[in-house]
Amino acid sequence: MSGANERTTRQDRVNEAVSDELASTLSQDQIARLMRRRGEESKFWWLVPTIYIIFLMLPIYWLVNMSFKTNQEILGAFSLWPKNPTIANYMVIFTDPSWYKGYINSIIYVVMNMVISVSVALPAAYAFSRYRFLGDKHLFFWLLTNRMAPPAVFALPFFQLYSAFGLIDTHIAVALAHCLFNVPLAVWILEGFMSGVPKEIDETAYIDGYSFPRFFLKIFMPLIASGVGVACFFCFMFSWVELLIARTLTTTAAKPIAAIMTRTVSASGLDWGVLAAAGVLTILPGALVIWFVRNYIAKGFALGRV
């Protein structure tokens, strides 16, 4: 048997190595190598991430599976994959404006929010990372509390505030409302990244005769480009996944896709296939943007300080 053979030869080799090493005086290098061999992790390290990823993917797979089935098939026979794959559910979404407009609305207010949040957060984060000023610590703490504020507390007052300004059912209303938690987050992340840039760079630039705006755009921004990317990503993420406030502030013209899903489900008597297809389409943008920040995502979650 080849397996048994292999095992004996390997055993032989180990014996040989041990006796060899016992026989000769060991050099430092050899000791280190021996230690490394013994301390090596088991061969099955990949098992844990694999099982975890399967656990994560199963519910998503089920949604994708359902999105390619007809309603009869979903409710009729239980099957692990679609017997007659159909793209009819996706066609419903791409041809009906009340569906695909939801995606456009979501993207519009998410991008607006991202631009507003990051552009106001940039100077503030610079101030926090470089200067001490009156009340800076209190201000930073106050910003943090807004990140922690429960959206449920703000849903009703937001509705009244934006009604008073006549902004209900506009994209800008949702974008501004989401600034509540995204601006503090962006300030935190950017401050973390900016603190990693040595202050000597600023000073050298001033000595070289750079004005502040020119220094900020030409020298500082490229240095924290990854931080800006991560801040954008997190603004995108938290604005994209939020529903409670977005739903409260919109009725028809700016309604996000997530809210359209809940409404259409109750109205059309549970159209499971279309619901699943819409769900799959909300996962895609996230999956796309993760790829760009994959190396920084963990650092971003640690608010830029690892």
């Binding site: 990823i53 089920w62 503030a124 001490r132 529903l243 909300t282 996962i283 979650f301």
Partner: protein, 288 residues
């Protein structure tokens, strides 16, 4: 880093200040207004003192939601934090596996919260869902619509599915920042796997773990969308957490006074927790 004292830095903070004041302070003032007033309609309000606060603080319903929410937060922390550390320790360190693992694990974090709810609502159904169907086929009496225990299991499983990756990512970020020299030293000393974890990896992760625990606690303390979509707070009130209860009172029953008083109490608790978070964080920073 040595920071210079410069009060002109206020001008750089001003845009953030104005924006957040608009979206946080003004709405909060409205809430404060409602919490001390009563109305019989027609926009006529009169002073009501602290009546709403006593009403909320004496109502059993508020405390039950609070207790449910605390139990929920502690259960998910007890599962997600050890599981997250365990998975992070077993992540590949280099090669093509790293980006694949990171992207796939981060995926649940980017799904809109109500879609997360929908996914699990479907996944757990005994007629068309993989989980529910399999459990019933195996002979378990599983039905999250009628059984409070099953509803809790589903909601907790959903949260573990949704947020464990956050703990994994944070711990992973902490782990990769440990220099190789530490491991080499440990190997020369003949340290066991456990000793490496206990004396090298855990201390190096304490900062990110702190962020993970506090973020998870805060977010689970204000969880709304996911359990609302899956169970709607039911069966009965068994999965009605604080935010769900608050929205029920404010928008469902339109009881502005009690809802506002409850918001303020809720917000004060969050404020206290944020303060603890901030103090601990700055202390950890100072120690470095």
């Amino acid at each position: 880093m040595e920071k210079t004292w410069n009060n002109k830095a206020w001008f750089m903070v001003l845009p953030v200040l104005l924006l957040v004041a608009f979206s946080a302070v003004i709405p909060l003032m409205t809430v404060v207004n409602y919490s001390v007033q009563d109305t019989f309609g027609n926009n006529v309000f009169f002073w009501n003192g602290s009546d709403w606060f006593t009403e909320i603080l004496e109502s059993e319903r508020f405390w039950l939601s609070m207790v449910r929410n605390l139990i929920f937060s502690f259960i998910i922390l007890a599962i997600e934090v050890p599981l997250g550390i365990f998975i992070a320790l077993n992540m590949p360190k280099k090669g093509w596996g790293v980006p694949v693992c990171l992207v796939l694990m981060a995926l649940p974090l980017l799904i809109p919260w109500n879609v997360v709810g929908t996914i699990w609502q479907v996944f757990g159904r005994i007629d068309i869902g993989l989980l529910g169907y399999t459990l019933s086929a195996l002979g378990f009496d599983y039905n999250y619509v009628n059984d409070p225990t099953d509803a809790w299991v589903t909601v907790i499983l959903m949260d573990v599915w949704h947020w464990t990756s956050l703990v994994v990512l944070l711990c992973y970020a902490g782990l990769v920042s440990i220099p190789d020299a530490y491991y080499q030293a440990a190997k020369i000393d003949g340290a066991s796997r456990w000793a490496i974890f206990r004396y090298i990896q855990l201390p190096k992760m304490n900062r990110v773990l702190l962020i993970a625990v506090l973020l998870r606690f805060m977010d689970s303390f204000m969880i709304y969308t996911e359990p609302f979509v899956v169970t709607g707070g039911g069966p009965g009130n068994s999965t009605t957490f604080l935010s769900i209860d608050l929205v029920k009172i404010a928008i469902g029953q339109f009881d502005l006074g009690p809802a506002a008083a409850m918001s303020i109490i809720y917000f004060l608790i969050i404020l206290l927790l944020s303060w603890v978070f901030y103090t601990v964080m700055t202390n950890v920073d100072a120690e470095r």
